[in-house]
């Protein structure tokens, strides 16, 4: 086992054959519409032709069960690729910066503050471009290379842009990235450094969406969250696999997850369920709760209102990485939270800032606004008894604070200014040394 990430093989390795060229029965059955059930071949497409429902990768779990085991996983690379048996990439992953295998940290200080007994933070700031997006992008682009794409693209409020730019550079792919022009500087530089074709679109989020949908329609690029979205979203399942493995091969009682499109939340749920189905962890109930910012809370609002559909909103929040007004997987996230007995909650921008500070001050982890949303909601759910004190709870912290310092710059005080002599320091200290 090593953290070494080797260069991808230069020759395309489809990986379809095994031992003397015999074709291995495929783990991948095809794509299936989540709404009408229509099935089709594995291909770079994301909506059902019949009903516009989203397509999802279908696996043959009998085939997977024959090869997967805890031991095999534990011998694998210290990255998402130790779980490749459950990911939609067939050959050696071609686009790999070492995403995943991030720390799961027992957080006793924060737990005590919140009045719960057993709390863990999944610290997914510890990824190659400092957000969980590296999981989905490495998965999407590895698959895209297998499909034969030479260009990667996305439309993003920052984290996805950073991750696509970096992974495309690593893979030698051409890269087009669209961002709203009002993004935080850290997220702009965090893309530009990898030299993508970066388009800052002057317009509101609706206009950015419209333009990018048209571009995706008219190009033959791997738009990670459009035509290769079924493969992209599967990468988030690794957030469940890792937590289960890190907890000694078991699911927690309760998970708290931020929601933008709702994809990550539904896939973490799916990930734990797959491990149970395969007998890798014990069958048990667990609850899934979701976190949104008040300024963009279409899913949490629908949860509160008892609706089974999600009414799109115009986002206005400092949590730009969660500012997705018309979430593609919103209804599935709703379904997941309801069917598991979980909750959804929203927090104000002030609570987001408090959440960021609370996590940093109690546990030494500096998260971005999305993490502030998650901690704010975790606090709310704990204080209202919706997280029971004896539930083993995992909160997912999915992005780093250094990309969005402006969100908290006015809320962290300032250093004490002193002259370069002892007297000045002693004056600041309030005592003689």
């Amino acid at each position: 086992m090593s953290a070494l990430i080797s260069a991808p093989p230069t020759a395309q390795n489809g990986g379809h054959t095994l031992n003397g060229g015999a074709k291995r029965p495929s783990r991948l059955k095809g794509l299936q519409c989540r709404e009408c059930g229509q099935t089709s071949e594995i291909a770079p497409k994301h909506v059902c032709e019949m009903c516009f429902g989203p397509l999802e990768v279908q696996y043959d779990y009998d085939v997977i069960a024959q090869t997967i085991s805890r031991e095999k996983i534990e011998r694998g690379p210290r990255s998402i690729w130790r779980y490749q048996d459950l990911l939609p990439v067939e050959g050696t992953p071609q686009v790999d910066l070492g995403a995943g295998f991030t720390p799961l940290i027992k957080c006793n200080n924060l737990a005590k503050k919140l009045g719960i007994k057993s709390l863990y933070i999944k610290n997914d700031t510890a990824n190659p471009t400092w957000s969980f997006k590296d999981r989905v992008v490495s998965t999407a682009l590895s698959r895209a290379v297998e499909f034969g794409f030479d260009t990667a693209a996305c439309a993003s409020t920052g984290n996805l842009a950073n991750s696509v730019s970096a992974h495309a550079a690593r893979a030698g792919m051409k890269c087009y990235v669209f961002i709203p022009s009002d993004l935080e500087i850290g997220k702009i530089i965090g893309s530009l450094i990898y030299k993508p074709n970066l388009m800052a679109v002057k317009g509101n989020y609706d206009e950015v969406n419209r333009l990018c949908a048209e571009v995706a329609d008219r190009t033959d690029w791997a738009f990670v969250n459009v035509n290769v979205r079924p493969f992209y979203s599967e990468g988030s399942k690794t957030l469940a696999y890792e937590v289960a493995e890190q907890l000694g091969w078991q699911a927690p009682d309760h998970v708290v997850i931020p929601i933008a499109s709702g994809s990550m939340l539904t896939k973490i749920h799916k990930g734990f369920n797959e491990l149970m189905k395969l007998g890798l962890i014990e069958q048990r109930d667990f609850r899934v709760s979701g976190a949104q910012a008040q300024g963009c809370s279409p899913v949490a609002q629908a949860f509160e209102d008892g609706h089974d559909f999600v009414k799109p909103v115009k986002p206005s929040t400092i949590a730009k990485s969660l500012a997705i007004g018309n979430p593609a997987d919103g209804i599935y996230a709703l379904d997941t939270m309801r069917s598991t007995g979980g909750n959804a909650a929203m927090v104000s921008d002030e609570e987001v800032v408090e959440g960021i500070k609370l996590l940093a001050e109690t546990e030494g982890i500096f998260t971005e606004t999305a993490g502030g949303v998650t901690i704010g909601v975790l606090k709310k759910l704990a204080e209202s008894g919706k997280i029971k004190p004896d539930e083993t709870t995992v909160a997912y912290i999915t992005g780093i604070g250094l990309k969005t310092p402006e969100a908290i710059a006015d809320h962290v005080g300032a250093p004490l200014q002193i002259a370069p002599n002892l007297a000045s320091f002693e004056a600041a200290l309030g005592r003689k040394l």
Partner: protein, 79 residues
Amino acid sequence: MKDRLRLTFEKDKVADPVVCQMAKQFDVTFSIRRANVETDAGWMDLELQGDDAEIERAIEWLENAGVQVSPAGGDVLAG
């Protein structure tokens, strides 16, 4: 061109008449792919076909009629 849209209605808007009126007033055709109308709100996914400018006008008209219009598959923009 084709456009796949999600129309979302408040309780005071009844889905079908608005869509029919739109099709009468503009040179567009539509097919409803999925819909769900609850007592206090509802939505409908449809495909509009027609030329770009006419679709633009139809969408604008729907919005003025108090219907929320958004892309059917959800936002392309991600976090």
